[in-house]
């Protein structure tokens, strides 16, 4: 039964031109920004080439900072564009079990985002593999070339795809709550970026640590860490768990709002 709903939501998603463009933007921006970040860091800035202790995997995967905004747009639109065009009336007339509709949207958007994110991650790691040795991050200096055969790198990469998917679901939930495209996107982007910046700006160590541990974006991105784990404010899996908690709350609130309210 829900399978049919997922097929219907998937049809909606694939028959709208913005989906393809946004998916492309997700993949491309992940690779581009990741490559840029990787290219701008080299061992000459460190006390010595072997004392960089750089987390090259996390550096190569920096692109998500930008691509997550494309994910936010894509996921938010799957809900808010229906409210904007009032097609939501048709949707709920055709599929009156509203929570199931939201779940179906969640599933289809997750598939698109995960696919685009995976492409982006693959490209980022490949770019990193190429760029890093040229910047001094060579085997002699203690840096293995980036490879998925390395456990932590695999975890960081898969975790990044998971991160993007959770961001998508977070956007979906907020979209279902707020219903207005501009408002929902503004709120979601603010929640993600602003707390991250605040973590840097606030120099009180206690508050800085709290912000790093409990803000959705810094905590979620902990999944990308492959080295220096003892210096992290929050460990990788608990970190992504924090993001998952926010996501779960947003989706639950969104489902409740959609169920209770008039259309």
């Amino acid at each position: 039964m829900t399978a049919r709903l997922v097929v219907a939501e998937w049809t909606k998603l694939r028959t709208v031109p913005s989906t393809a463009w946004l998916a492309l933007a997700v993949a491309a921006s992940t690779v581009l920004l990741g490559a840029l970040a990787t290219a701008s860091v080299d061992t000459s800035q460190c006390p010595s080439a072997t004392e960089c202790f750089e987390d090259t995997t996390k550096l190569a995967l920096t692109g998500v900072w930008l691509s997550q905004s494309a994910v936010v747009v894509l996921a938010t639109l799957t809900v808010t564009s229906e409210f904007g065009t009032r097609m939501i009336q048709t949707t709920f007339a055709v599929m009156p079990r509203r929570p199931a509709v939201v779940i179906a949207k969640a599933i289809s958007v997750s598939i698109v985002v995960a696919a685009a994110g995976a492409v982006g991650v693959l490209g980022s790691v490949a770019a990193g593999r190429i760029i890093l040795p040229g910047n001094g991050f060579t085997i002699e200096n203690g840096y293995e070339p980036l490879s998925f055969a390395d456990g932590p790198t695999l975890r960081a990469s898969a975790g990044t795809v998971l991160y993007l998917t959770l961001v998508a679901l977070l956007s979906l939930g907020i979209g279902a709550l707020i219903r207005d495209t501009a408002g929902a996107i503004t709120v979601t982007l603010t929640v993600l970026y602003l707390f991250s910046i605040a973590a840097y700006l606030v120099n009180d160590p206690v508050w800085s640590e709290r912000l790093q541990t409990y803000s959705p974006m810094p905590a979620g991105l902990a999944i990308q860490a492959t080295t220096n784990l003892d210096r992290l404010a929050v460990q990788p899996w608990p970190g992504i768990g924090v993001l998952a908690a926010y996501t779960g709350a947003a989706v639950a609130a969104g489902v409740a709002a959609v169920k209770i309210r008039d259309v």
Partner: protein, 332 residues
């Protein structure tokens, strides 16, 4: 603009396990619905039944509560009190509801970037309806040549047709149309009328809302008239017209003012409809003839007056109109 289809044979595609139209009579039943939006009471204790096999018009001035009622029936808005049942069951309990009730609420409620066919396709997917049915209804409403175009470029009339296609997609025994003739040209209006009649003939329950009586003339069998959220009348069209026409006589004469004087002296009230056509209330046709002949006033026609639906409706809703411009002074 693609022309409306000619009289196509009855749809033969069996849509999954949905009951065929003639097997089951599906009524739409509304009981004591009450709904308020903030301080405004949109629907106030409304009850009526839409029976299968006829076209029922839901009529009322703008703001009377027609759209709200339809949305409550479809489970889009929740009523504060009362129930709405389709074939005896609430909408939310229906599996694949568009196979039971097809609805066109808002033709503009489509994503402009999506192709027309894809818009129907997802609805078919969600309800287990085969793909070929999508192409069938597209042809039925005359959008075959535009099926692969994006809806953003559609005119209002084309969007109405697309909405109708969506309503027909599930081959449902009950249909709800909210102001379906909005924005259609005369050709389109004629086509809709024919469609509505044909759907009723097939045994379906058809609910059509409108705020213009003239649209429903010729297509509606039954009327539910509402004003300010309350039911004002629930009657067949025939009865309504008869009641509106009762006791009135139309007299065609060239001596208008003299005739008026003569007739009013007898205690009748006279209204002028057209040049030279008087509506006389309170006298039988024979009496009127006698009076006019006695005064040697020329007349060419005396007949029982047949009110238009519009007139009947205006009389009914005169007091219930929420939004009306100041009415011009009537001749008496």
């Amino acid at each position: 603009m693609p022309p409306g289809p000619q009289w196509l044979p009855t749809v033969t595609t069996r849509v999954g396990a949905a009951p065929t139209v003639l097997d089951m009579t599906t009524d739409i039943e509304v009981r004591d619905i009450r709904k308020r939006y903030g301080p405004t009471v949109a629907v106030d204790g409304l009850s009526f039944t839409i029976r299968s096999g006829q076209v029922t018009g839901l009529v009322g001035p703008n703001g009377a509560g027609k759209s709200t009622t339809m949305r409550v029936i479809l489970g889009l808005d929740s009523a504060d009190e009362g129930t709405a049942l389709i074939g005896g069951r609430p909408y939310a309990s229906l599996r694949n509801p568009i196979r039971h009730v097809g609805a066109l609420l808002d033709a503009g409620a489509v994503h402009p970037g999506r192709r027309a066919r894809d818009h129907l396709l997802w609805m078919a997917h969600a309800s287990g309806i085969p793909k070929r049915r999508v192409d069938e209804v597209i042809e039925l409403v005359g959008l075959s040549s535009a099926a692969r175009r994006r809806v953003g470029g559609f005119s209002l009339g084309m969007r109405q047709r697309l909405g109708i296609a969506g309503a027909l997609l599930g081959d449902p025994p009950a249909l709800i149309f909210d102001e379906p003739v909005n924005g259609l040209d005369p050709e389109g209006i004629r086509w809709i009328r024919g469609l509505l009649r044909r759907l009723a003939t097939e045994g379906r329950a058809v609910l059509v809302s409108s705020h213009l009586m003239s649209e429903l003339e010729g297509s509606a069998d039954h009327l539910v008239v509402i004003g300010r959220g309350k039911r004002i009348a629930d009657t067949s069209v025939q009865d309504l017209l008869t009641a509106a026409s009762r006791g009135r006589v139309a007299v065609r004469t060239t001596a208008v003012s003299e005739a008026i004087t003569v007739l009013t002296q007898e205690g009748a009230s006279v209204g002028v409809v057209d040049h030279g056509v008087l509506i006389v209330t309170g006298l039988s046709a024979q009496r009127a003839i006698a009076l006019l002949a006695a005064s040697e006033l020329p007349f060419s026609e005396v007949s029982g007056y047949r009110a238009t639906l519009e007139e009947a409706y205006l009389n009914l809703t005169r007091d219930a109109g929420e939004f009306s411009a100041a009415s011009p002074v009537e001749a008496s």
